[in-house]
Amino acid sequence: MTNKLILSLFLLMSITIGYSQTKDQIKKIAAVEEKLWGAEAPYHDVFEIPQKWESESAVYIYRSVNYYYIRPQNSIEYTRVVRNRIKLLDQAAVNDYSEFKYKNNNAKQKHLYTFHLGLKVIKPNGEEHIVDVKEEKIEGEEETKLAIPNLEKGDIIDYYFYSDMIPGENDLYRFDEVEETVEATYPIMNYEFNLYTEKDFFISFNTYNGAPELQEQDVAEKKKRHYSFEMKDVDENTYPRWFYPYVELPCYKFQVNFARTRKNEKRAYAFIPEEDFDIKKTVTKEEVYTFYEDKLAPSGDIKQVRHFIKEHDFKSQTELVTAVFYFMRHKFYTNYIEAIVIEDAKIMNPFAYYMNAIFFNNDESFVRYFAQVLKDQKIDYEILVGTKRFNGSIDELLLEYNADFVLKVNTETPLYIDTFDAYATINKISPLLENSEAYSLKTTKKAVISEIAHAKLPASTYEENNSKEVANISFKDGFEGLVIDRNSYHIGHNKSDEQKSRLEYFDFVYEDYDKYNSTSVLEFAGKKKDRERHKTEYESLLKKLKEKQQENCKKLTSSEYDLKLDDYSFEVIKTGRFKTGDPLELKEHFTTEGDLIKKAGPSYILEVGKLIGGQFEVNEKTKERTQNVYSQNPRSYTNEVNITIPEGYEVSGIDKLNFNIDNITGAFESSASLDGNTLKIQTNKSYKNYFEPNSNWPLMLEFLVAANQFNEVKILFKKS
């Protein structure tokens, strides 16, 4: 079975459990099975696929996704039933479906779960073999496995998953959000979506990117509702690089909330329709306002922050807000990390010393706390409600969990505050929110949210998101290899990625301790007599973690160049954590064997183009891209490569290192010159925009191909 299939089963199964089925459930499953497999079942008599898909691996004759939200007696119940009828055309497809594995949900929860798998194999002559899943399955502690008998090329596998949940609560319940694209690994001949609900279930639902609108179906019973849509001839998925499926592919999103009374409706933490018989398709800005008006009101115990402010003499609101942000980042975040590491290493349990610690476990609590500080300091602010660009535009916002918050502090020059983690800086917001439309929740002088308006989140430029690498390179004796000393400087979003992959907590926690006069947990936690031992154990741990960091960074750099590295060392010069524009500065030393050096008689050829690291590979398939291009953010990469020319040698082929492609989508520019016995090469590659329409793909290819060509350039070191 492919990983993808296992994954999708796991996702489905993440809410299921192998409890024995109750009589009611057995009856319900039997009814579902009759509907899916009975004489009247849709597509039960379809065995053939269109000629155009005969050379596919498999084809979905029918994929049916069904959600049921019902209220038997006094409880509420959720059921998801997915039926797939797939014709397996080759051995790969048979292998994919020959084994089913699904995780058991062993968590003890207050909900009741039922899971059932129905499966049959239909031979080319129409003969049906229903698999006795109960008999054939092997139930392990963690997962259940099933080997599908009598499955061969040319067969149809027709199976359904039935997952049922009866929540413990039955007055107000928010069911999980659903976002799905209408596509699969194989083409789909017939796709059907059904949603069945009853009174007091509130539905927000919409389809996007060409998926048909949800239609209400006639239902005899007054309290019941049925909605559906159908699609035909859906091609298989192909996910290229730089692609947002929920913006490009037909998809649907929905959420169902149960609220027994009007009072419960008001308590629902979701955008829900006015009435249970309405389907909410969009969320207006007024609704956003109403929803967050109270939920994002200032709140929190800000004594420590007040004290911090009192101790300092800030010259401006900008200075104050900036200082408070970094103070909070330490006090309520990095200040806890050492304790967590110590606890995780079982050196001691220091958590008793943090019993009343302030900790933000979600975005809302951080926004409200910071708002409380701003209110206290009488600083005007707005809360911008946006959604990440891969969700679509803010006008299409439907699911509350797709909303994100950015604080805009209206100081002399506005300050933007978003992600709160160890590397968060003022004015650095998520790249996925940048340059997108948002709603602004404006506040009164008393920090009451009073109105809502459209706003645009700030953008960053490719110059602001830059990585610069300066590599000083010399040859090992007799051209046997290279010695490389590399300094890198990363700013903007490029910095965030590098910080997360290269830095460890000890690179910044002690920087913060020094700045804010904090004390290591080892100085005050635990019994006094044990402290020396704790320190010794912690130092041993630190030594090990630093060794691991060296290994990790060696691997990262090795994969950048696709070379085996030796004699590697890594050092953090500056963490760049106190300004978005301050660089993260790293220093590395390493050597390589002669992989990039070729002997040419008495001369040597160096694959110099490889010294800027691997480039996005353009091949015939990537050239044929038909989708639009979605980048996380504009960005640029600068390389300076300085090669010391060995004594007695001169260099040929420098002219081949000059490239100059610059257009509206991006650039690749390079130049090379001789400075004494040093060959100096400089390259700049930039991706200029967040989004490129497919019509601009040829322009992108221009600079991507140039970078590929540079990668192949070789120079000759000739005996003078």
Partner: protein, 639 residues
């Protein structure tokens, strides 16, 4: 509500904090530091490891029980170590206790976890694991592990190995063998290890105490493509021959006949119903012109239609599934497939037998009567006095050819109450030849021409298996990727293959091939990097501890014939390489034949193995090879 702040604090931690008053002594720290010098790549060393093995009789079922106790002292030699210590068991054995203690012999509060062990190779197995996570907070820190495993039936206690996951300073394995048990302890791979054996007889208890002691053992080797453990590690094979209970003698596995008798008892217990697939057999054997064709049709049908899905659960690990089950389910393990082939052939009127065999992963043959001798089952068909072996798990394997893993191995063929031992024929590396020919010329700074590849034997079978298991709509792309080695500078076009379903004839592929960015021109001189394949360039075996084992004998041949552009001459041709010994032959040569540069390579791995004894020769050859691969050909304009 969103939760994107990832830092989580567990204020109510349930973790157990160890009593850490058991700090290492200064002597421990000194020892750990000196051990780190000896074992720089290891974190933990077993200071002592003692195994104590006793035997008993279960009076209810009259089976011999084995009690295996282990006491180990583990020391951290790094700054800190976090490891998982574990033991495996299954339906034939049980771990009775698994206790961790501090250095001062007080029990540490670790709760061992007992879980099923999953393997990618087996769909389902009954192996379970007991484990605990150990944290060693400082250098020199120690724990002691005591465990006891009980085997309900001695026949499943087949061997005990000396090395462990960690280096061992001192290891003692002690057997207390009562007089009522006839037991042979066969010493395997002891050469090169200083293993001391002592034996003491206890008159009072009527037992022999046999101890094996060894010092300074390396941890398990970390080599890829290594021989099976029974080839490389010192170990003791435990051969339980018979026992006497209430003055009555009971035979266990005294000789091969006893082993066969037990296997046969399992086979006799099967309830095959071949009539269920009579129709299929008739279909496969009708309209055939020879017996060989009938056998082939049945053999190939099983290869192509029965999926390999392995169950290893108790007796199912030894007893084949009934043939009708395998036929109806269209899946089975090696035993199930062998039995289905047997029953189908019998229906077709042939003399077919089940055949037990140990693959080349196992060092023993049937002179050792033990369950550890074999791990595989095939079918033997006897035709005109000739034995032909049929392995249903080998996809795209032609009739009469055998996979490397069983070649030369002894096969135990059923023969009523008796058995037949027969060796599987051995192929040569030439039988697995792959031959690449490329006739090319230089055009616009690219090398352009037509290529041809032929695959034979196992190189063909592995190609066909991989190719035919690809998604149909991805096959073109995958074939391209295979032929250009994932290198975007190699362009493959107009592929014309022979039949991808023909397992009996050579596989031939013709295609157009362009090598880009392989020519550099400086000051009117052309520099040519002709070799994109660089076979074996990364196979330096300097740090390797064990023989290098390939999946089959290799015979790779390559010929590139490049037309030199008019007016150009080649200044210098790299020196030829011609090296050969009992394990390999490597040949590389450049030759200028008029205006054609002939570049020939031949790599033969004669026995699918490079032995440690030939590593030095191999490594020197590989270094020469790399150096030649790195040499550019220089084409200069004639004056």
């Amino acid at each position: 509500m969103k939760k994107k702040l990832t830092l989580t604090l567990l204020f109510l931690s349930t973790l157990v904090y160890c009593q850490k008053q058991i700090d290492p002594t200064p002597e421990d720290i000194t020892q750990a530091k000196s051990l780190k010098v000896v074992y720089p790549d290891d974190d933990v060393v077993l200071i002592n490891s003692n195994d104590y093995i006793e035997f008993d009789i279960n009076k209810d079922n009259q089976q011999v029980i084995v009690n295996h106790k282990v006491d180990q002292n583990l020391m951290n030699i790094s700054s800190r170590a976090d490891i998982q210590t574990y033991d495996m068991y299954n339906s034939e054995s049980n771990v009775e206790y698994f206790i961790i203690k501090y250095r001062n012999d007080k029990e540490a509060p670790f709760s061992p976890k007992y879980e099923s062990y999953t393997s990618n190779d087996l769909f389902h197995n009954d192996t379970k694991v007991v484990y605990t996570n150990l944290d060693f907070p400082v250098q020199g820190y120690q724990y002691a592990l005591s465990s006891k495993k009980k085997y309900e039936d001695i026949k499943y206690f087949t061997s005990i190995y000396f090395p462990d996951d960690y280096p061992i300073l001192n290891r003692t394995i002690t057997f207390v063998v009562p007089d009522w048990l006839e037991l042979e302890l066969k010493e395997m791979n002891f050469d090169g290890f200083d293993i001391e054996k002592t034996e003491v007889y206890d008159e009072k208890n009527k037992t022999r105490t046999i101890s094996f002691t060894v010092s300074n053992l390396d941890a398990h080797y970390d080599d890829k493509m290594a021989p099976g453990p029974s080839f490389i590690y010192p170990h003791i094979l435990v051969l339980a021959k018979s026992f006497t209970y209430k003055k009555e003698s009971h035979t266990l596995f005294k000789n091969t006949k006893d082993l066969y008798a037990w296997y046969k008892s399992l086979v006799d217990d099967m309830t095959d119903e071949p009539f269920q697939f009579q129709g299929k057999v008739s279909e496969l054997t009708s309209n055939t012109s020879s017996d060989e064709e009938k056998i082939k049709n049945i053999y190939y049908w099983v290869q192509d239609n029965i999926r390999y899905i392995a169950f290893e659960d108790g007796i199912a690990g030894f007893k084949p599934d009934d043939s009708q089950n395998v036929y109806n389910k269209r899946y089975g393990d090696c035993k199930g497939m062998a039995n289905l082939i047997k029953q189908m052939l019998i229906l077709a009127g042939f003399d077919a037998r089940l055949t037990w065999i140990g693959t080349n992963h196992i060092a023993y043959d049937y002179s050792t009567p033990s369950l550890s001798v074999d791990n595989h089952m095939i079918c033997t068909v006897i035709k005109d006095g000739k034995k032909i072996f049929l392995d249903g798990t080998e996809k795209y394997n032609p009739f009469g050819e055998y996979a490397e893993r069983i070649q030369g191995k002894q096969a135990l063929i059923e023969n009523g109450d008796d058995y037949i031992l027969e060796q599987i024929p051995v192929a040569t590396s030439a039988d697995n030849q792959s031959h690449f020919i490329y006739n090319a010329k230089i055009e616009n700074d690219e090398i352009v021409g037509d290529a041809h590849i032929t695959y034979k034997g196992e190189s063909k079978a592995s190609f066909l298996y991989n190719y035919n298991n690809l998604m149909t709509n991805k096959k073109g792309e995958a074939l391209n990727f295979y032929l250009n080695n994932g290198d975007h500078n190699i362009i493959v076009a107009d592929i014309n293959p022979s039949d991808f379903n023909d397992r009996e004839n050579d596989l031939n592929l013709d295609y157009h091939l362009i090598l880009k960015n392989t020519i550099s021109s400086f000051d009117g001189t052309i520099y040519l990097d002709l070799d994109k394949d660089r076979e074996f360039a990364t196979y330096n075996l300097e740090d390797r501890k064990t023989d290098l084992v390939f999946n089959f004998k290799k015979h790779l041949e390559s010929e590139i014939n490049l037309e030199i552009p008019e007016g150009y001459t080649i200044e210098h041709l790299p020196e030829a390489i011609d090296e050969e010994n009992e394990d390999f032959k490597i040949h590389l040569s450049y030759n200028l034949n008029n205006n054609i540069l002939e570049y020939k390579k031949l790599f033969i791995i004669k026995n699918a193995k490079i032995k440690k004894a030939t590593f030095e020769h191999w490594n020197k050859t590989i270094e020469r090879l790399k150096s030649t691969y790195n040499e550019q050909l220089i084409l200069t304009l004639s004056k």
